[in-house]
């Protein structure tokens, strides 16, 4: 009798979990106020703006648009979902390997800094406020560094957040951070920035759908100008951002 009740309770719990996937934590974790310091990184935009490659809303959109299919947004979406699946399966080894790969794929020193510093800050803040049962087993298998999308994937999987909303909010936050950097550098105004973000909704939705089942072989970019911009940023004379 007791066993039956327990099983019923477990089944009910699982069913509820499936029926009402959580999304609320996403709006905390991926908000600009979550203490990962995202405001300090421009992903090389500061250099592209310095050279005039980005000078207004149109050229800013033209710079970021290709990232969905051939640049950082594409890879981050794939890594996020690969990480989510290995974390969800409790596969600490696969998760650690993915993390190593994500860090090894960084094209420059500052882009490595951008992902590893935000990853470490996310891990620290989320571990304190949003722990979950399997967290210690993942913490013990990680090296000293964690890539940002993997840190987010770990907590999303741990809290049963579905992949599609996770990826959409993650990508929108990434775009939001890029646009906000451009805003600080006086390239776009407030309304233009918001219009740009709203305009990416379809692309974000499509990339998230693609990334949900994507395998490791789906990784791949050719955003060489953006990679070079992040390298050039290292020696930029006057700068606001760390990347």
């Amino acid at each position: 009798m007791v066993i039956t009740l327990m099983i019923t309770a477990i089944i009910t719990h699982i069913a509820m979990d499936e029926a009402a996937p959580q999304v609320l934590p996403l709006f905390v974790w991926l908000s600009p106020s979550f203490p990962v310091g995202s405001f300090a990184y421009s992903h090389g935009l500061e250099w592209a703006i310095e050279t005039g490659a980005i000078r207004d809303a149109t050229s800013l959109a033209g710079w970021i648009d290709p990232f969905f299919d051939h640049g950082v947004l594409h890879n981050e979406a794939v890594l996020l979902n690969l990480g989510w699946r290995s974390a969800r399966h409790g596969d600490t080894r696969a998760f650690a390997d993915l993390n190593t790969l994500a860090l090894a794929l960084c094209p420059s020193r500052e882009l490595h800094l951008e992902t590893s510093q935000q990853g470490a800050a996310f891990l620290a803040a989320a571990s304190a406020a949003w722990p979950f049962a399997a967290l210690p087993s993942f913490q013990s298998c990680l090296d000293e560094e964690i890539a940002y999308p993997l840190a987010v994937a770990l907590f999303a999987a741990g809290h049963g957040i579905a992949q599609q909303p996770l990826t959409e909010v993650f990508l929108m936050a990434f775009c939001g951070n890029l646009v906000s950097a451009a805003q600080k550098l006086a390239i776009v105004g407030q309304s233009e920035a918001q219009q740009m973000l709203a305009g990416w909704r379809t692309k974000i939705d499509a990339l998230a759908r693609f990334a949900v089942d994507a395998e490791e072989s789906a990784l791949g970019t050719c955003a060489y100008s953006a990679d070079i911009a992040s390298m050039k940023h290292e020696t930029q004379y006057s700068r606001l951002f760390r990347s």
């Binding site: 710079w63 420059s108 970019t221 100008s225």
Partner: protein, 269 residues
């Protein structure tokens, strides 16, 4: 009745370099198919020159090169000519590169450029396993189209999957993908920005990061003709290049390689 697949080329080189009392020599050379390794008298140490006797790479070809550098061996490997990737209706050609670097060995892989013809396809896999104190220098250049013949708006399929492990740990990975009309998307400003020649220089060695400023100084005179960036972290030095002209990029790379090798200007002649 079995219908045989179109007979495509297979080429395979496996060899090991050893240091014999301060002189590096090739050993255990295995060659098959259209690939050969030659060792002409070199200016600086041991230099292997890979020859693809087919003169080109076609869809469905499968070529592989596996090199081991023994303890304290010092070797550079280049190619006799640019590698030309021909038009194909078949699967992309496959090129497998595998390098193993023992303690205190040096391996420089400095092939001439790879030229994609219109409607060509190439998949490359590179795997490096190196000791903590070994030194790797890798310079790779891609050209999109036979530019001299006016072929500057090609379609191609290119996929690179590179992994570099140092002391058993993955430290560098590169996943490059290009699939489609170059003019359609690669010309976008944050991707290729109108360039037709792309290069990557990767140095992994105990002294690699310390060469950051020296490489930047060397490249400085070319900043108006070639877009490039140089960066160093985690014991690596990485430089990326984009140029509209392959000839200029070859020159820039030669100057860059000169930081490591006095014979840089002679390597690609």
């Amino acid at each position: 009745m079995e219908v045989p697949l179109l007979d495509r080329a297979r080429g395979d080189i496996r060899l090991r370099y050893e240091n014999y009392g301060g002189v590096t020599r090739p050993l255990h050379l295995f060659e098959t198919g259209g690939l050969r390794m030659r060792h002409p008298r070199a200016q600086q140490g041991c230099v292997g020159v890979m020859v693809n006797s087919a003169g080109c790479i076609l869809g469905g070809d499968h070529l592989s090169l596996a090199i081991e550098a023994g303890e304290k061996a010092e070797v550079a490997v280049t190619t006799l000519a640019a590698e030309k990737i021909h038009r194909t209706l078949e699967a992309p050609a496959l090129l497998d590169l595998s390098f193993t670097l023992a303690e205190r060995s040096t391996l420089s892989f400095l092939p001439q450029e790879t030229i994609f013809f219109d409607a060509s396809g190439l998949t490359r896999r590179l795997n490096v396993a190196m000791a903590e104190d070994a030194a790797l220098l890798l310079v790779d250049m891609i050209v999109l189209g036979r530019l001299a013949s006016g072929e500057d708006a090609i379609t191609c399929r290119w996929s690179d999957s590179w992994r570099v492990h140092r002391g058993g740990r993955l430290i560098f990975a590169e996943e490059s993908r290009m699939n489609g009309a170059v003019r359609g998307y690669f010309d976008q400003p944050s991707l290729g920005g109108g360039s037709r020649a792309i290069a990557l220089l990767l140095a992994v060695a105990p002294d690699a990061e310390g060469r950051l400023d020296a490489l930047r100084d060397r490249l400085e005179p070319f900043k108006s003709v070639c877009a490039y960036g140089v960066s160093a972290w985690n014991g690596m030095l990485v430089a990326r290049f984009l140029a509209t002209s392959p000839d200029i990029l070859r020159k820039v790379l030669t100057v860059g390689i000169g930081l490591w090798r006095e014979d840089a200007a002679r390597l690609w002649q």
